[in-house]
Symmetry: C2
Subunit: 259 residues, 2 copies
Amino acid sequence: MSTPRLFVESDLGPGDEVPLSDSHAHYLRNVMRRADDAPLLLFNGRDGEWRAALAVRGKSALARLVERTRAQTAEPDVWLCFAPIKRARIDFVAEKATELGASVLQPILTRHTAVERVKVDRLRANAIEAAEQTERLSVPEVREPVDLARLIAAWPTGRRLLVCDETGGGPPIAAALGALDEAARVAPWAIVIGPEGGFAAEELKALRDVPQMLAVGLGPRILRADTAALAALACWQALVGDGRSPTPRLAIDYLTSRG
Amino acid sequence: MSTPRLFVESDLGPGDEVPLSDSHAHYLRNVMRRADDAPLLLFNGRDGEWRAALAVRGKSALARLVERTRAQTAEPDVWLCFAPIKRARIDFVAEKATELGASVLQPILTRHTAVERVKVDRLRANAIEAAEQTERLSVPEVREPVDLARLIAAWPTGRRLLVCDETGGGPPIAAALGALDEAARVAPWAIVIGPEGGFAAEELKALRDVPQMLAVGLGPRILRADTAALAALACWQALVGDGRSPTPRLAIDYLTSRG
């Protein structure tokens, strides 16, 4: 039986009793059918991962912390900026970008963006669920949508910008990222992906005027916006981010035993 | 109005009249509401892409070829071997792997594979739809599921094997792929991804005994099987495959006018 793993907002420390949300209480009692003292894992993005015991209190529930199972680790500071797309695909971007370690999910509104409304709460819920289910110790911050022009106008000093340019205006992504020096690799970054209709000419020009901008190509095939976002993030992590570090050694049956 | 782009089995040559399937005829007439002489694009994975004109014949339809719009190009020979997973996720793998240029989709049955049945026809339909919608000139071959042990026993001489090893038994993917010589880069390849429960110890050992095997890690986060497949394929294309070539130059409004 796998151990439920929950993201909470509360601080986590030895002996703490952490109140669980109504939806977590419902999930544990009615969906997972867990009773008093059932083991849980909790994380909040700051204090590592903790083993805890469920304590049922009528219709609500709390978790009694037992011990820390993993220490919080530093993660790459990489924003994923993407134009909203239709529902199933944007859910997918939130889920996969969480697994692939984006620190911020930033919807951007562009000239050719087809979908104007973004359910930010829904994206947040998808990101939390993906972090809970895949051992990540943090949840990306999901921001309110912003006009691309405003985002560029207020571009943070020192944050490097990777633009996926489907018009062929940049070198291949691996060559460009592989040539970076160590100062560039440890800098904060943002990856920007255009909408299905592509960036407008003036948008590409404005992006190119951001200092320390790197425009790259993702190869000869035309990728959907969601595929481009994940391919770029996967390549960025492998070549610049924490994918450069060795994967931690696990016992061969770790995944199976963990459930 | 976008031009419907259809994958067909027939040969394509100047002046040919190509019969369209019932489902293509239905799609063009009843879903897309196209009439006689409406422009189409056709490809078959061998003869490039052709502009054609729709000809309605009662309830069926054919396409009259006008001219070739793109020449067929060579594509990397890279298999994606993955354990079946539940329905929405396997649909997603078929779609994304097609966009990312896999040449073969090979479901593999492993000790910890949770899902035994694979709807191969459904995977094929997903792959065709993804190729039709994303300008790819070919469709990956979708193979019947095979036991991992049998696949390994009959491993083709000269086909290199990239094993995504979540137990930390290999170096980071970018370092490993970046260090390959040109002979290795142009060789045929296969990427193997384990099931959600991970490979069994004897499976990892058998994979490691394949000549020219390369085991790599995908970083510190545990990825779902579908995410791992796409991250590995995206990195492989960027570092070894045709992602090393410059993206073709497009007019800035190419995507918008086309889509």
